[in-house]
Symmetry: C2
DNA sequence: ACCTGAACACCGTTCAAGT
DNA sequence: ACCTGAACACCGTTCAAGT
């Protein structure tokens, strides 16, 4: 371990970690640069040596979140050479679990706080890599007749959008009680996906 | 018109209007109570006579947004006794248009800034009323065989979730360029819905 | 009942200065 | 190269005081 003196050693990553922790404790609204600095035990202006502004830190946190999501998705998909059906359901379960577990990280990843994506190539890279993972599973499902053929990327966006939408509405408390009181988010998502899959019984 | 003196007359609604305007100019991040007050030409503490805090103003803005969305959805659906298919596509087009036009109002409506819904009955009411509109159209589509029968509310949530998810991802710039460069949001949504509808040729 | 102005704690960001 | 501390403009919220 690096000796604790004037220079922190790895302040950049310490700030990202501190940010994730504050996010899970105080939520998106409670995330401030000054709190992050305090938690990392540096002065409130120290973060500016590593991040140009708050947006930049949020981009780094979002990138880290996407890396974790990617890892969990590929772990869920990759467990042995299972059937396309098992793979896609496992992937979706992992997505929902991620959203329900690391709620505020998930929210910030998709809260458009990153407007100028071009400035954050690492974020764009992992986000694209994650999408490709989904596209590959969708393609397998198409080949085995589980999903209608053609337009693989469009189908992937449709399915991803559906899961993402249902999860988002649930996180914002927008799903009517008449529905959410009877079924949990995972069940609703499974139902929705089942409808799509039913296309090819 | 009310004479402009010490008392504003209808400051409450003026603040909501000012908020919506600031939202469309400066975005969600640029919305502050002090700016709203300034725009309504009152002191920065005047809003507190009508709203307990910023959340409360946001709830009022969201409620107003939902009222507009409800109006546009029912206008789209209600135009003559058209077919269920026309109705559902018209409704979805209206939803997408609303999201793309009043982007920041849409975002704040679904940004979970309203955590304690119970405290905002007007918001809950219009939100439920809007959902019922969707449920009714879905039921019509089920009756005419466009959508699979049963579980009407679940089907409604699935479809609403899908539209909402695709639109949200688009607003956050998360749809990969390989897709969004070829098709606009409306087309992607139509494609997704077409997949669901295809269930019953 | 409705609004103002001073006050307080907190925030993002900058910058000269320290190590 | 990395970090501190003072400073500035802005913010949400409170409260005594004005009309």
């Amino acid at each position: 371990m690096p000796s604790k003196k004037y220079h922190h050693g790895d302040l950049k990553n310490a700030l990202i970690q501190a940010g994730i922790e504050i996010l899970s404790r105080d939520g998106v609204a409670g995330l401030s640069l000054r709190k992050v600095a305090l938690r990392a035990k540096v002065s409130h202006s120290a973060p500016y040596a590593h991040f140009s502004d708050k947006q930049s830190l949020i981009a780094a946190i979002s990138t880290e979140g996407f890396n974790q999501l990617y890892a969990e998705l590929s772990a869920a998909i990759g467990e042995r050479a299972s059937s396309p059906e098992k793979k896609i359901f496992a992937a979706i379960k992992a997505y929902v679990t991620f959203a329900l577990t690391r709620t505020d990280t998930f929210k910030i990843m998709f809260s458009g706080v990153i407007e100028k994506e071009k400035e954050y190539p690492a974020f764009v890279e992992v986000s694209q890599r994650t999408f490709r993972l989904v596209v590959d599973v969708v393609r397998e499902c198409q080949r085995s007749g589980l999903l209608p053929a053609g337009q693989t990327e469009l189908v992937a966006v449709s399915i991803w959008g559906q899961i993402h939408g249902i999860v988002s509405l649930a996180l914002e408390g927008q799903i009517p009680h008449t529905v959410i009181d009877k079924k949990d988010v995972q069940s609703i998502v499974d139902f929705a996906l089942g409808q799509l899959m039913a296309l090819k019984g």
